[in-house]
């Protein structure tokens, strides 16, 4: 039985999760990472993706997040998400709208750097869309 640690998922509108968990899978900007108790202090930005939370009771919950960042210290992990919803409640129309917006951003980017960033974001979103099972 792995040790539990404190995990908090916060969106600007409210505190979604604040509980003792066993492990959390975070879609970090430079690759997914699993956080467990006594993780070395890391701060990372996150890309749009799915956060999987395994609570101390052994229950697994999944949340979709759109960007943000995570602050990981040995005692706990705080995930500040720009917007976060439980996978079951995801609004596909909203997701489609975001993809549309990202596509437009990529289309009217002025220089290469901005464009590559926008395209990266777009591909992250489309990957996310295909990863979520249709309701």
């Amino acid at each position: 039985m792995p040790e539990a640690f404190k995990f908090e998922l916060v969106s600007p509108e409210r505190l979604l999760v604040s509980e003792q968990v066993e492990s959390v899978v975070i879609p970090g900007a430079e690759g997914e990472m699993t956080v467990m108790a006594h993780h070395a202090p890391v701060m990372t930005t996150i890309k749009p993706g799915v956060v999987t939370v395994k609570s101390a009771a052994g229950k697994e919950e999944r949340y979709v997040v759109f960007g943000g960042f995570a602050d990981i210290v040995p005692a706990g992990c705080t995930l500040l998400a720009e917007s976060a919803v439980a996978v079951g409640d995801i609004d596909r129309a909203d997701l489609a709208r975001r993809i549309q917006e990202a596509r437009e951003d990529a289309a009217d980017a002025k220089d290469d750097q901005v464009r590559s960033k926008a395209e990266q974001f777009l591909s992250q979103l489309t990957t996310l869309e295909s990863a979520i099972p249709p309701a």
Binding site: V10, P41, V42, V73, T78, L80
Partner: protein, 294 residues
């Protein structure tokens, strides 16, 4: 002297007004509770954001790679004022207080020979400022259709501001809103959001604050991602505080109005009763003196 019928009509109309103000007060009370809950729910995010920001600025150490949003352009010629007010009136001095603070600020800046640009959030502030400084208003953000204030609304405003900053549209940006102290007290506040400046040292005592962090990607890159987000959060917080403040001000304004209407009804009723009694007495005197004359 108004006739009895006039008085009766008058009392009926004041009573109808009282019912309306009473209803508005109760609606405001219910909305206030919701607005307060929303403001409280948003608090953890902004608190943690502040802590993380403090940690990371410490790591970057105010080096040359700090983004311009934080250090500023080095000038203070052009000021952008974001004035957040309510969409609706009937809430006492709430809107005019914010507008007055903004106006004083504008006057001072103009006297110093600075250029001023204004973005109005909310209809009321726009209406007030348009009279004197209509030419300075760049834009007006309408939140009237918005039922529940979401982060997306604040984010849209912040994006506009940042876009303008990146184009060199202004040097310093100040946010005007009303801080929600309690139901009866809202304090109009001016807060500088760009350049953000380094967070105070007091905020640095977070758990593991002195641990050696690993950063993914580089601290500078995270910071440039974080600062715009922080601006959105500040705007969001201002909007939430405003929403709660508006409802608080409306509640007490409507409470006053209801009480005033009650007093007016009392006074009118006394006048009405007295006049009715005078008329009865007069009729009696007429009958008695008529009988005595026989």
């Amino acid at each position: 002297m108004p006739s009895l019928k006039d008085l009766r009509n008058r009392i009926a109309s004041v009573k109808a007004t009282q019912k309306i103000t009473k209803a508005m007060q109760m609606v405001a009370a219910a909305k206030l509770r919701r607005a307060q809950e929303a403001a409280e729910a948003a608090r953890p995010y902004s608190e943690r954001m502040g802590a993380v920001l403090a940690n990371i600025t410490q790591a970057v150490g105010g080096g040359g790679d700090a983004p311009a949003l934080m250090t500023g352009t080095g000038r203070d010629d052009v000021h952008l004022l974001i004035v957040c007010t309510a969409e609706r009136g009937l809430c006492g001095g709430f809107n005019s207080q914010i507008a007055r603070l903004a106006r004083d600020h504008i006057r001072k800046l103009l006297a110093d020979g600075k250029k001023v640009k204004i973005i109005c959030v909310g209809k009321k502030g726009f209406d007030i400022l348009r009279r004197d400084y209509g030419a300075l208003i760049l834009e007006r953000v309408d939140l009237r259709e918005v039922k529940t204030l979401g982060f997306a609304n604040a984010d849209a405003i912040a994006r506009k501001v940042i876009h303008l900053f990146n184009e060199g549209g202004f040097d310093i940006s100040t946010l005007f809103y009303s801080q929600f102290k309690s139901v009866i007290s809202q304090v109009p506040t001016a807060q500088q959001i760009i350049p953000a400046g380094a967070p105070s040292a007091a905020a640095e005592a977070t758990d593991g604050g002195n641990a050696v962090y690993e950063y993914e990607p580089e601290p500078g890159e995270i910071l440039s991602d974080l600062i715009p987000r922080n601006i959105s959060v500040q705007v969001f917080r201002a909007l939430l505080e405003n929403a709660a403040g508006e409802m608080g001000a409306k509640m007490s304004a409507m409470d006053n109005a209801t009480r005033n209407a009650g007093e007016m009804i009392n006074k009118l009723s006394i006048t009405y009763n007295r006049q009715r009694q005078a008329q009865i007495t007069k009729e009696l005197i007429e009958i008695i003196s008529g009988a005595e004359a026989l």
